[in-house]
């Protein structure tokens, strides 16, 4: 089960470190990472595999929200099936 995590906000030191440590602790494998500046905002996108997730999905969502608040950034997680449905025929 693959998902996309996006982290959007003002660039700072330690964003990748914090998010990837959180994911590693919970058994989430990072498949790829890219980062870019999109409309003046730092935007990091991670493609992750959730099949080894060790905590309930709702808990992961809460943890990501919390980490986002600490970093002052917006973190969202979208299932790849949603993107596939909306953007590929």
């Amino acid at each position: 089960m693959t998902a996309i995590i996006t982290v959007v906000g003002v660039d700072m030191v330690g964003i990748i470190a914090k998010v990837s440590a959180l994911l590693a602790d919970r058994g989430v494998n990072i498949l790829s990472i890219s980062q870019t500046i999109l409309e003046e905002y730092f935007t990091m996108m991670m493609r992750v595999d959730l099949s080894g997730l060790k905590v309930p999905r709702a808990e992961l969502n809460t943890e990501l929200d919390k980490a986002g608040a600490e970093l002052g950034m917006k973190i969202t997680l979208i299932h790849e099936e949603v993107l596939k449905a909306m953007h590929r025929i």
Partner: protein, 453 residues
């Protein structure tokens, strides 16, 4: 599969900034096998069947919301029109049926249950009459039950006896819920050409042509359409229509994913997707603001009907391409109290009742969530219903009326209902009398289906 940063960012924004959501996952449940010559037996069967079928509905919706990252705002139930189920009991009031439905809805945790309904477009059966008489007490005595009455159809014409009675019913219901501004009327819809698979409240019921149980999903997303049109001020209507279609397509595909997932997890067949632009009182979730984005100073300006016609059609076209089963009402809703931009337009004096009526000729439903003066006569309310039914019947489309005659309120007063129902100013109606017209009764014949010019 690789997605571009733009695609990912566009999707994230739809959910986080433009209020895109699944408005409702509605489980349609047939109660036909619950009918009994004993009312208490029928009600026991209804309660058992609803709670058995919908036991996991709320939990599954929460699971899907969490796993896919798509907000699901409401879970609801629609049932077979209760006039059909209660009739064999021979009881003279169906209020107890409404109480049972309310209890079942609360037991499974859904936030509305629709289907306290009767279809009387051509005439009344004994059960239909009892149901209509029971509506005011039933809706005042329950919290989650919604009622609807179909008074007209293109095939049958308009049942003017039913139209007359609904005016009286709406007044009665408003008086019974006067302390809350007549909010009981927000749970009652009068239809022409009602659809059998509508997942949206208050007009949802599970039609007799439907399966035993089905999952119908209602989408929303006016904010997404408005955002897509931002920056297109110079574009021609060809491009505007194309952009709306493409956006509607994406939204519907998202809804189809949720519907199929819910259907699989609940082991209930997927019914339909209803792609409706259903506004909420939240800023950025308004259909009126889409029309402004098209270049009108405000909704109500000349051009509003044309703009809404384009919007409604483009939404349907995009949605139909995206899902194998599109149904319900699918189009653009123009409720007043539930739409921040509509409320603003009425408060500024930009939007009259008459312009709203004209716009219902091309929107997907009708005169919806409009607060009118408390001293409006039953005959005037019936006459509004007759006008709206005539629009639906003649144009082969669904139309509906959901008016709230707020007791003690005058034009210009503000009435607040709260939550998704919002609130808004009391709108003035014509002061002319329709008494003689409504007193006639009988049926307005079905319109001719040929010689269309």
């Amino acid at each position: 599969m690789i997605f571009t940063p733009f695609e990912i960012q566009e999707t994230v924004r739809m959910f986080s900034m433009q209020n895109l959501d699944v408005r409702t996952v509605t489980m349609g449940i047939s109660l036909r096998d619950c009918a009994s010559s004993s009312g208490s037996e029928a009600r026991r069967r209804m309660y058992d069947k609803i709670t058995r079928n919908a036991e996991r509905l709320v939990a599954v919706a929460k699971e899907i919301e969490s796993e896919l990252g798509i907000p699901i705002i409401n879970t609801r139930i629609s049932v077979t029109p209760i006039a059909l189920i209660a009739e064999p009991s021979g009881e003279t009031s169906y209020v107890e049926y409404a109480r049972t439905l309310d209890k079942a809805a609360k037991a499974v945790g859904v936030n509305f249950l629709g289907g306290f309904s009767a279809l009387v477009q051509k005439g009344f059966t004994t059960g239909d009459r009892v149901l209509l008489c029971s509506i005011p007490e039933a809706l005042a005595a329950t919290d989650l039950v919604c009622a609807s009455v179909n008074v007209a159809s293109t095939q049958a014409g308009i049942n003017m006896d039913a139209v007359r009675q609904m005016g009286v019913t709406i007044k009665d219901l408003a008086e019974r819920t006067a302390a809350a501004g007549g909010v009981g009327c927000a749970k009652l819809v009068v239809f022409a050409n009602a659809v059998e698979d509508n997942p949206f409240m208050a007009g949802a019921f599970h039609g007799t042509g439907e399966a035993e149980c089905a999952i119908n999903v209602g989408l929303s997303g006016p904010g997404v359409i408005k955002s897509a049109l931002e920056g297109m001020r110079e574009a021609s209507f060809d491009d505007v229509a194309e952009t709306i279609k493409k956006t509607a397509f994406k939204i519907t595909r998202m809804g189809e994913l949720v519907a199929r997932e819910a259907s699989r997890r609940l082991n209930v067949p997927f019914g339909i997707i209803d792609l409706s632009l259903a506004p909420t009182p939240a800023v950025g979730d308004s259909v009126a603001r889409i029309l402004q984005e098209m270049g009108l100073e405000h909704i109500g300006a000349h051009g509003s009907t044309a703009a809404l016609a384009l919007l409604n059609d483009a939404v349907k076209k995009g949605g139909i391409m995206a899902s194998s089963h599109v149904g319900g009402l699918s189009g653009a809703f123009i409720p007043v109290t539930e739409d921040e931009g509509m409320v603003d337009a009425v408060q500024r004096g930009c939007l009259s009742f008459d312009k709203l009526e004209a716009m219902t000729c091309v929107c997907s439903v009708g005169l919806d969530m409009i607060v009118i003066p408390g001293d409006t006569s039953a005959a005037t309310i019936s006459a509004v219903i007759a006008d709206e039914a005539a629009i639906g019947v003649t144009n082969h489309k669904t139309t509906a009326v959901r008016l709230i005659p707020a007791p003690g309120k005058k034009p210009g007063d503000h009435v607040e209902f709260g939550g998704l129902l919002g609130g808004g100013p009391v709108m003035a109606l014509s002061a002319l009398s329709s008494e003689g017209f409504i007193a006639r009764g009988g049926r307005i014949p079905a319109p001719i289906h040929s010689f269309k010019n």
